[in-house]
Point group: D2
Chain length 246, copies 4
């Protein structure tokens, strides 16, 4: 990362990295600890930073719309993701949300990911492997209309027609288990809410988030001129069981 | 939780729970699985739900302003919190953020929490004990002006005058380690940014989040009338080491 | 208005005004100029302020959802309201938007207001009379499904089912005339957009506004804790005439 | 305006207009009424629209940061601008806000505009002349530190250091008169609030606005991906006179 904030994500190996601030000899970096710096051939200081998951997500290869960090954090909390949980992720897409889930369930947890497109599955596997999380994830190449193979503590549903899979989600969730659905249009949200109302779910909530960044000059503190206006609506629901009649 | 969304947080034991929908015999709940329901004495259905951390946070005993779920998720991502990390949390307050950190670092991680007020320390310990996370947290009753006892992979700083402890944070962080600071006023943000600029930090960012909730009637989808307008500004920075001169 | 920001709207006449800060003798106010002050019987200073239209709107008698100042200003601009214009306002409701339109078209302009409920018409007339604007407004007690009696430079449509009156609006507008519609739900917006697409309109835009207020303590500048999350969506369109075939 | 929403602002005269959709013969437009259309040489339909003030503002020649329509409407309401008012506008900049003020005060009102830079004054005069509003505006080439020549019903203050002119504004305002100040940074707002607190002002309010636009496909209703995050903070205050001592 340069002081101007531009950064590059790469594996340290032999060779050179061409940047807008000059060439970096990767051998100059080998053996250096995180946070230390080297010089480009033009004399600019370049810092060696440990990539965070958010950095990886912003820079990963993708073929799909991804879930953004501004929403990922909230979904993790609303799904109450923690060590040892079993979670279904459908469809996996490029694997951004899957990675966040896999990291949060720890070594003892498991993500069952469903994806019907082979190219997406391959890409997600590639990304998850690079991030060292593939051992916690099982990706299945399959349509989810036939339901899921597992019961799950939580389900994350990110498909174009989520209203068609509410029954399948309900059936796969454990009692009190949490469901999260992301959809970018209000029409989709309406259809999902209608379908959810047919099943015993409680705690149904719909949210959207706006994150605004500020310029960091202390004597002129103010927001940036432009921001992300919309990524997705987030729909949450919790399964209950009507085991007796009113 | 009732169908009207109102919920109650309690440990299952002998006795009765008085609610706006009638009395619940807690013995009716014993042995029931999560997601199932019982009846109040007026015949209303009451669901037994596994409390999520977000539910605990909203209902916990507190004596301080807490960090809200809308911000907690993003801070966890920006600090890149994951299994096995060592994190400093100063000051711990009522323990909401501490709990989120403790849960995310897993069994192999550790939170070093600092708090100078004895009543807050006691309250945080109580809350963390109730949530089963106290074993991952060491709370020290101490002012942080003398610095921290540990080096940390990340630091969360939530004190009224964070600009006075930037040096201490810098010194305690490992190279490339992440710092997050929360402050509710623009004046505080200005002072923090000024102080941060005196140390080798990169990736300095200031954010705020707005979360808007929607009513869940599918035929009349629209946001609620009112929302939270402000909780805190979030300031992030990453430590680098200037180990050679330009 | 007191220094604590609480204010009272009244006509100056004989009598006393009971406030949370004590009694004001209205005879103490008579003859005083705007901006000057009198004393309550408890010695509190009370300022005599000229009420603005926004003050009147917030305090007026109403039986309906009103258009809020945060949206009124933008609608006036998007409808390009100025002196001498002829504008249709349907339905008039409590008359808030009607007053803003009437004021902006000046002495030479005219508002043709339609309202099908007699109680609303009466209330709007009462409000507009109090504000001295009734001479610029003609309120008709009538359903608009049969169309409007006039052609108009601009139309403001605020009814529960606006999609049913797009044809009527199109027919009443002059060429290049502006249409503004307010609706609180996404479902209504979808129906309106669908209907608008069947007529030769250009410049179709949908907007919503969020206004956030800040506390005014200079050493602790920060937004208030809560804000209005939603009032209405605003839909704009401009009439064109397809006077030749492609 | 084309159906793709792109538009061109011009005076109708002899000649040709080159567009991304082909050439328009301006003689084809002469004599046509607003809302009607002509054909480009490639056969695309082009509509002749009456420009609104908002269209002019977005397209005008400018050398300064302008006040945006999303804020202009609210400022007009908070200043309670209406027919016959006398308003001070300092500094006038490119003249966007001045035009909005001049239009709202009507034939019987007057804007006293102050500008210390000759090039800005010239540009504002040019713009106001083009919009037919110059007769209502008197622009003075002058620094405002010496105060204003007139008393005014309202003042709009848009200079880099507004805190230096609060006394001048207070002195020029009539009792109960309204002041509006725009400033883009939190630091400026703090300084303004501090200075305002030294004078008898009531109703001091600080606001910011966020306007979000939606895509107009009815079957996929959702906000655009990006939006304006910040233009300015708006500070409002009302002059009172402390004509007796507590």
């Amino acid at each position: 990362m340069f002081e101007d904030g531009r950064s590059f994500l790469f594996k340290i190996q032999e060779g050179k990295l061409q940047t807008h601030n000059g060439v970096i000899n990767l051998s100059d970096i080998t053996g250096k600890s995180y946070g230390s710096s080297c010089q480009t051939h033009t004399g600019k200081r370049f810092y060696i930073m440990k990539p965070r998951l958010v950095d990886e997500i912003y820079r990963m290869k993708r073929q799909t719309q991804i879930v953004y960090p501004k929403d990922i954090g909230y979904i993790l909390l609303m799904l109450d993701v923690h060590e040892g949980m079993k979670i279904i992720d459908a469809g996996v897409g490029s694997g951004a949300m899957c990675a966040a889930l896999a990291r949060a369930v720890g070594e003892t947890g498991k993500i069952y990911a469903y994806e019907k497109r082979e190219d997406f599955k391959k890409l997600a596997e590639e990304n998850l492997t690079k991030w060292g999380l593939i051992s916690r994830v099982e990706i299945k190449l399959r349509d989810i209309s036939q339901g899921f193979d597992e019961t799950a503590d939580a389900i994350f549903l990110d498909v174009p027609d989520p209203w068609n899979y509410i029954r399948q989600c309900y059936e796969a969730l454990v009692g009190s288990g949490n469901l999260a659905i992301v959809s970018p249009t209000t029409n989709q949200v309406q259809l999902v809410l209608e379908e959810i109302s047919k099943f015993p779910f409680v705690g149904v909530e719909v949210w959207e988030s706006l994150f605004r960044q500020y310029k960091t000059v202390p004597s002129r503190l103010r927001p940036f001129d432009r921001m992300v206006a919309h990524t997705t609506y987030m729909i949450f629901a919790r399964k209950v069981v009507n085991d007796w009649r009113d």
